[in-house]
Structures are given as structure tokens and as C-alpha cells.
Symmetry: C2
Subunit: 272 residues, 2 copies
Amino acid sequence: MTRVAAVQLAPVVGDLDGNTAKVTAALRDALEQGADVVVVPELATSGYVFESVDEARSAAIRPDDPRFDEWARLLATRPGSVLVVGFAEDAGEVLHNSSAVVTADGVQAVYRKVHLWDREKVFFQPGDARPPVVETEHGRIGTMICFDLEFPEWTRIAALAGADLLATPTNWPLGPRPNDERVAEVQIALATARMNHMAIAFADRSGTERGVEWSEGTGIVGADGWLRDSVGAGTGVAWADLDLPASRDKGQSELVDLFGDRRPDLYGPLLG
Amino acid sequence: MTRVAAVQLAPVVGDLDGNTAKVTAALRDALEQGADVVVVPELATSGYVFESVDEARSAAIRPDDPRFDEWARLLATRPGSVLVVGFAEDAGEVLHNSSAVVTADGVQAVYRKVHLWDREKVFFQPGDARPPVVETEHGRIGTMICFDLEFPEWTRIAALAGADLLATPTNWPLGPRPNDERVAEVQIALATARMNHMAIAFADRSGTERGVEWSEGTGIVGADGWLRDSVGAGTGVAWADLDLPASRDKGQSELVDLFGDRRPDLYGPLLG
């Protein structure tokens, strides 16, 4: 079994050093509590509600930044462990809203958010590559970011690429919802897990930032589509022990297979 | 506004005449209560848990069956009204698990279920065409059936084809779920509505049939992804007044558009 931790943090916009320290502390704590895979929010190192491109740039880092080496050294204290962390990526001319898959051996993959939401388009350049799926000791870990999860083509692509667990850093602004209803994006995560028989760990943020409130929707859903744990208000950690390679069995009975029953011969053209 | 009724019925396997009478009575009642669009379950005329192909064939009808004419005459009593009904289709050599979109002018479209579930494969031939979208006085009505709804490619195709309302006859066998959780398929319907900004009316069945229990999950979800009404245990009707053409506005802010933000340049090949 793989012990997955999805961490709800409260970054402060522009405070790169303070936010980095929060990620480091959260990673250390989670590893000490036996986490094998740790997921932290989107833009965890930079904050979210930027006032200018310059401000975003001042909190952006490159994938060869020493911070990743520091996290890799921490990960080395628990063999096989993995961190998935959202960060503002300095890519020279442009910035990306990215997530990195990090092991004791360093950064294994960087994903650049393809479906930028709202004013993210002002600050970031969208990515142009599909979500990576990284083979680890614990299984195949895919990653995408926040609004990406609301594009069913994108999550399907990650599942078809073999992701056992989709590690999803998010910042979900709080929207209106009826009483007793879940955060809408959490509902989407649950349905997506079930339709693809793929576990999903989503790490949201808390803390009001320049007037924006957040959904505080951090949680972990199993490949069966049922929520295993969630955080709720404030900072905290959702935990789940998951059999990640079991996500690969898409069969539900002798005659039902979620992937085998697909009809790609009928899908292609309209989605192209 | 369009008054939508999703009807939860209890068909009896093989009882074509009795089931037809139930559909007719449900349609008459719904129209008398002001329904503009009436959706009844999958295989409403035939029942579901067949013991043999012969039994399924004995309850199968053709789209030119006089029953559809009878329903069309009823629909003529409320101008512009529409019925979406699931039936076992006699297509000569083979049978299909089909749904028909019927107006006062007769059958407007027949959809043959593409994603057959489990032992349906024993009795039915899968369809090989995409879900139709029928232009009506109340908006554009698409239809698919039950397990189809769990293939995100398929629902996306219906939404991209312009469906304002996805009328979905279903028979959802009861599965295990944690306390206080919704029927999993309902959760998928809610997420699908939100991801596509498309209303969905799903008409499930009740009544135990040859040992199979049903989820009794009938309900209607708005294009915003929130459930408007549901039936619960037993037979009954879920109601909702919906602005169907409003489903076409995929914009959520000046910079967010659920369709415009798609990246088909990156989707095509993997889904083909």
C-alpha cells in the first residue's frame, strides 16, 4: 500500500522564501508520518492572486532551483517517496503555472498547466504538452493542475497514459453552492476517478488572498470513486492508504471493462 | 422556460403491453401537469433482466410501431412537447438497446446504445452512431443511454454537437456505496453537466427484477451542475423548470469559456 498525503497550505502571495519554508515543513512532517506520496497546492511557492507579471516573476523559480534539491534530500530520508508541488516556473521569456514530480533523485518531470483559468492567462503562458506519467516505486504518478481536471479529455489522456494516481495541485476559488453540496470541483474529481478507475489526490489551498477566498477542498479519492479523506477548513492533511497499481484493472465484471468498452473508432474526429 | 419531467417507472420484464400502458399513463400525467419534455427509463417497454435473446426479441419493437404513433397523438395535446423513451429495438437480424425522441410529428430520432453494459452484450448489438441532437421548440435535445453517460468522450461529443439537455434513459443496478453518498452514476451526471454546461435529465427505474435491485436514481441536473430534483425510492417524477438554450453559453467570465478553453490540438491523437 502507498500512503498518500494531500496537504492544504496557506501560501502568501509573493513570499517565495516563506512559502518554500511552508512546503519544506509540510513535506518533512508528512514523511515523518509515513507518507510515500505528498501533494501540495498549485503555485505553493508563489501564491496566486498576482497584481502584475513582475510580481509573478519575482516569485518564479526554475526547475533547477536549489529548492528542489533541498526537497530531494528530504525525500531521501524515506526511500521511494515522491513530492508533487505546484510552482510558478521561470522559463526565461515567459512564466508557466507548473507542477513538478520530485524524488530523492531530483525533479523527474515538470508539467506546465495547459488549461489556464481566468486571469492566470495574464501572467502565464499555457503549456503545450500532455500530462506526464512518472513510473515510481509506488506506481505510476500523473500530474495536472486545477482547472485541467475539469476537461474530461485531459483526465482521460492521463488515465490512458497509465496514471495510477493523478496528483493534482489546485487553488480552487470559493464559488456559490447549494447547502449540503460538495465543492463542485471535488465532485468532478470523484466522478473522474470513477470513470477512469484512477485515484486522484487534490491539494487545495486555504487562507484569503487579496479578497479571494478558497474552497479548501483538499482530499483523496480512490480509483473506485469514493472519497477517502478530506481536510475542510484551515490548513491540514488528507491521508489515504491506496493500492496504486490496482488502478490498472479497469475490469468491473467478466463483461465490463471501462477502457475495453470505449469506442475510439467513434470518438476521434469530433474531439480532434 | 422548459418544464422537464424525468419519470421513474417499474417495468416488468417481457410485459410489452403492460409496460407500454405504464409509459402512456406516465406521459399523459406528465403532460397534464405541464411537462414540455418527458424522459422515461431505458428499456421502459421491455424490462431489462432477460433470460434469453428470444425473450428480449418478444418484447422488442420497431421505430414504426403504432405505440410511437399513440405517444405522438398524446404529445399533440401539448404543443411542442417531447418524449424520450428507452425501448428494445427490433432491427431485423439484431436487437438494439435504443432510445427514441418523439414529438407530435412522430419519431424524430432513434439512438442505439453504443456502450453496452455487462450482459446487455448477450442480447443487443451495439450502435455505431453518435448521439443525435434534435432541434425542438424547447431547445436542442440530445439522448444517450445509461452506461454511455460514464464515457466522458461520449457526453463531450453530445455537448459539442450542441445538446442543451441530455435526456438519458437509464437502468442503474444498485451497487455498494458508503453511507451518505449519492448514487455513483448520479455523481457522474452532476460532474458531466458542470464540465459541459449542459443540463441532464436521467430517468432510472425502480422495482426488483429477477433479483436485481435498482438505484432509483432518477433526477434532473441544471447546466450549472447542481441537482434540481430527484425521485428517491419507488416510482415518481422529478421536475425542473430549465432555460435550455442558456446551456449554450459556455462562458463563465470574460476570460473563462468551457469550450473555448479546450485544447483540441493536444487531445486528438491519444483519444483517436
